[in-house]
């Protein structure tokens, strides 16, 4: 009756320099999988033991072959909660698997034990089943920690215990390397399954003291598709909170944001509230219509922030911009495609870009705003499959001469001056075919 989704239970950790080191073993692996939202958040606490004779500087991490495309974010921390560096590598005679090389801060001596925490966020791993539902039905998901007690069915790989909204598997004994076993859980999940299909973020810097941010957002309800009619009557009568449709959501803006606008191609969307909090500004956005499975919407959200909080001048005279490469759209968000454009001021040079994680840099463009005759450099970045953990700062360093600030006012003054000169010349010329009565008498 239920469709099956495969999820690998077991990760295999081995250390190697190019090849798998069988001396390093996973002494203990505890995985906790959070399925309360539309994302699958996996936290694995791994105890590594070096049974070899040489000290080990790094270890390898292998992803399950069928979740590779779904991993949006992964991060490894050591016992001191410091991030460890992860590099993707290939391993001989294991070409079919994706390996990541994790460098340990301190080499692990022979016979010693260390603990690392692996954090992963998977997107698109929850598959609605049934894939389309009517307005009144509940949204059921197939997968693995639960948001409610309504669990329809789950893989019984013994030993397994279900208590309330938690299913506990294991403990399992000795497991061979590269062993995998799948787990399917079918449960109710009415958390908003909202995906940003495309986010275009544009940051425009003005050295007059303002940074304008505009986000063009396309969203889609990616939960179970709505089957059959939509009834406003039923929708109005159903006041329960746990409904699979999305009525509104919260967006968090920086505390200094002002001049916020929320609109779409038909103009201002009149249903939004701005609530200033101490540390941020909370924006409650209500799309024009409630979103049901498969429905989509799009809007533009824009605001301005003062530049002194984000733009600095370093001692060597360069300007440094620290802005978020992507910002919060809604809690537990999933962004399929992000395109960030940073519009730099007129006449910048020596642009250096520093991103917190790997992004694709598209070709620079030149745009023309009001009164521009030189044009502004636009840096374009693109990345797919992003989650909340990707909200991090990017850093752009550039050279810019302050006198360029006067470029446009001077341009305007010259233009006005020239037009006045033209008028002055024009009024002194006489184009009339015949002398007017007035001047004749004089």
């Amino acid at each position: 009756m239920y469709k099956i989704l495969a999820l690998l239970l077991c990760l295999t950790y081995v250390t190697a320099l190019e090849k798998v080191n069988n001396q390093l073993i996973n002494k203990n692996v505890e995985r906790s999988i959070d399925l309360t939202t539309q994302l699958v958040k996996i936290t694995s606490t791994i105890t590594l033991e070096n049974t070899g004779r040489e000290s080990v500087r790094n270890f390898l991490l292998v992803l399950e072959p069928n979740t590779v495309g779904n991993v949006s974010y992964s991060n490894v921390k050591d016992s001191l909660k410091d991030d460890l560096k992860i590099v993707r590598i290939e391993v001989d005679n294991q070409k079919d698997k994706t390996f990541y090389n994790v460098l340990l801060k301190q080499p692990l001596d022979a016979g010693r034990v260390t603990t690392v925490v692996l954090e992963e966020v998977l997107t698109k791993s929850l598959i609605p089943f049934p894939s389309s539902i009517t307005q009144k039905e509940k949204q059921l998901k197939t997968e693995v920690s639960l948001s409610s007690r309504t669990v329809e069915n789950y893989t019984k790989l013994k030993p397994v215990v279900q208590s309330d909204s938690t299913i506990t598997y294991g403990p399992y004994g000795t497991i061979q390397p590269f062993t995998q076993d799948e787990m399917i859980i079918h449960y109710e999940n009415n958390a908003p399954f909202l995906t940003v299909t495309r986010l275009e973020r544009s940051i425009e810097i003005s050295h007059w003291g303002n940074i304008a941010v505009e986000e063009n957002i396309q969203i889609r309800h990616t939960g179970a598709k709505l089957k059959g009619p939509f009834s406003r009557y039923d929708y109005q009568r159903d006041t329960g909170t746990a409904h699979h449709s999305i009525k509104s959501y919260r967006t968090i803006l920086p505390a200094s944001a002002h001049s916020v606008y929320y609109r779409d191609s038909n103009g201002n969307i009149s249903t939004s509230t701005v609530r200033p909090r101490k540390e941020w500004i909370e924006l409650e956005l209500r799309p024009r219509f409630p979103l049901f499975g498969g429905w989509q919407s799009s809007y533009t959200l824009g605001y301005s922030v003062p530049s002194y909080q984000y733009l600095f001048k370093n001692p060597s005279g360069e300007y440094v911009l620290n802005m978020r490469i992507i910002d919060h759209v809604f809690d537990d968000m999933h962004v399929e495609e992000l395109e960030t454009a940073i519009v730099l001021p007129v006449g910048v040079s020596d642009i250096k870009l520093n991103t917190p994680y790997e992004v694709e840099r598209l070709g620079d463009e030149i745009t023309y705003k009001y009164l521009d005759n030189i044009g502004r450099t636009v840096i374009k970045l693109r990345k797919t499959n992003l989650v909340e953990q990707h909200i991090q700062d990017l850093e752009i360093t550039y050279n810019w001469k302050p006198h360029l600030l006067l470029h446009e006012p001077i341009l305007l003054s010259i233009a006005l001056f020239l037009s006045f000169v033209c008028v002055i010349i024009y009024v002194r010329l006489d184009f009339s075919l015949s002398k007017s009565e007035h001047s004749k008498k004089e």
């Binding site: 009619p229 969307i269 219509f289």
Partner: protein, 643 residues
Amino acid sequence: MVQAGSKKSSVSKINSKTGISSLIIFVVLLLAWIAGFSSRLFAVIRFESIIHEFDPWYVSAWGGYVFIINLIPLHVFVLLLMGRFSNRLFTSYTTFYILGLICSMQIPFVGFQPIRTSEHMAASGVFALMFAVGILKYLQGMMSKSEFKSLVIFGGLISAGVVFLTVVALTYAGYVAPWSGRFYSLWDTGYAKIHIPIIASVSEHQPTTWFSFFFDLHVLVATFPAGLWYVIKNINDERVFVVLYALSAVYFAGVMVRLMLTLTPVVCILSGIAFSGLLELFLREDDNVRSEESEEEEHTTPSKRLYDKLPKEAKTKPKGGKSVGNVKTPTSQAFLNWNFFSHLKAGRVPKMKHEQSKESDGIGPNIRSIVTVVILLLLMLFAVHCTWVTSNAYSSPSIVLASYGSDGSRQILDDFREAYFWLSQNTADDARIMSWWDYGYQIAGMANRTTLVDNNTWNNSHIALVGKAMSSNESAAYDIMTALDVDYVLVIFGGVIGYSGDDINKFLWMVRIAEGEHPKDIRVIDFSYRKVIISQNTVNSVWTKKVPPTLLNSLMYKLSYYRFGELKLDYRTPAGFDRTRNTVIGNKDFHLTYLEEAYTTEHWLVRVYRVKKPDEFNRPRIPVANRVVKSPNFISKKVSTQK
């Protein structure tokens, strides 16, 4: 001042010629007002629209240009009748006609219409007449009086005959289009309703109500005739135009709400003249000299003098000021410092006692101040009213509705945009939407979807087909909708919030228009109660009691009220209470077979339905050859238990 002097002289001239001329003026005014009033009355009594539908004559912006293109020749013609022919008139009119003709023909849509339709014949006729008069004037100088007289009579008769015959011949041959039905509807108020219901159905084409006159014009309704009187009293070439414009615009505005547009400019002009005349009379006094001067500067100069003679005027002004120098007081001088000329002479003018106040015809200072205050108060109220009307009636877009709660809070009803945005986001790009033609442009613009009919649909039968689909029962409508490839149907339903401009209130027109094209299938009588032709009033009152079944089964009824019977708006009213019609709906429980609700906006204002595909609403019909018969061994449980 010189203005004052000339004013005096003109007044005395009129006084000397009193008798006949003032009688004529009185008769003219009376006739104008009788014409205007009777047209209004006529329109109200018939309670139907009379219409001048300008649509087919769009030049670039608005078909209303036909009004102008007939008004200018009329002006010229009247000038000719008044014996005011001049070379100036000849040059300006011929230039205007030729240039206007060439320019308007550049617009693709207009093409050759200006020389081929009867509506434009007046302009070309006057054009020919100008030449005829021009030639006659020229010949007059060369011939003796008797020769000229006979030439005028014979030449005139012959040319008139030739022109008339040519026009008739061209009309018969099809080169010139005869008067269109829309033209007749201007003169016969009932014409449109009977022959072209689609024109009569537009709310802008309804006859103007008295309320609307006062709402839009306020005190100007009263002052505008006074202005007209002033203009007729001091007639000249240009003012003839103003008078003609005023008279014709009054008539048209009475015929149709929309033509208030053409009336308002002339009302403003004439009321300005009237107020200026009034103030001129009552402000000419010691204490109020200041304002009087300002009024004089602003109003009397242009109204007394022709604008083309202004330079001369300006020249004589300082001279006159010096020689006459009669009304200057310290206060007026101070005020006149605004003026360059007066600034020059300010120091030189001797203080003099007023001749003006002496010669004034005994209006006491009290009356003066009372009248002035009343006028100013009126003007102030007018300004307040205008601001209010502009902000309340003409500023808010009709697509966003706003309502005010009891505590003064404003609630925005944004249902139209909600529905259009839903359509644009969640329907296929090539989806076709059927709705009444009023929403065509909005759907095209905001939802970016194809519509069957829109506000610029010329094809009457197309609109009638949509009207037929809306007024047929579901299965008949389904046939029409499949033939037209309709994917979604959009209806406007105001029953929840009490929005009166919804489709049910327009339904009567849909039926009428459909009947015009499909008299066999749709009959207005089927939709009416007690065999009375339904009007909006009877629909309202009869709605609940004995609604005709044709109406209950019509697509429009079903789409508007689908599941509305279950909705309870508040505790005082029963379920299914329609706030627009103020009744409980006739049929509460029904289902849709061929359509399903696709989206309904928050306040139910816009309802969108999806037209089902043939396999969705019923078991698909399988051809006999393809039918698979179940195995004969099968015995149902029911049968077996009976055994």
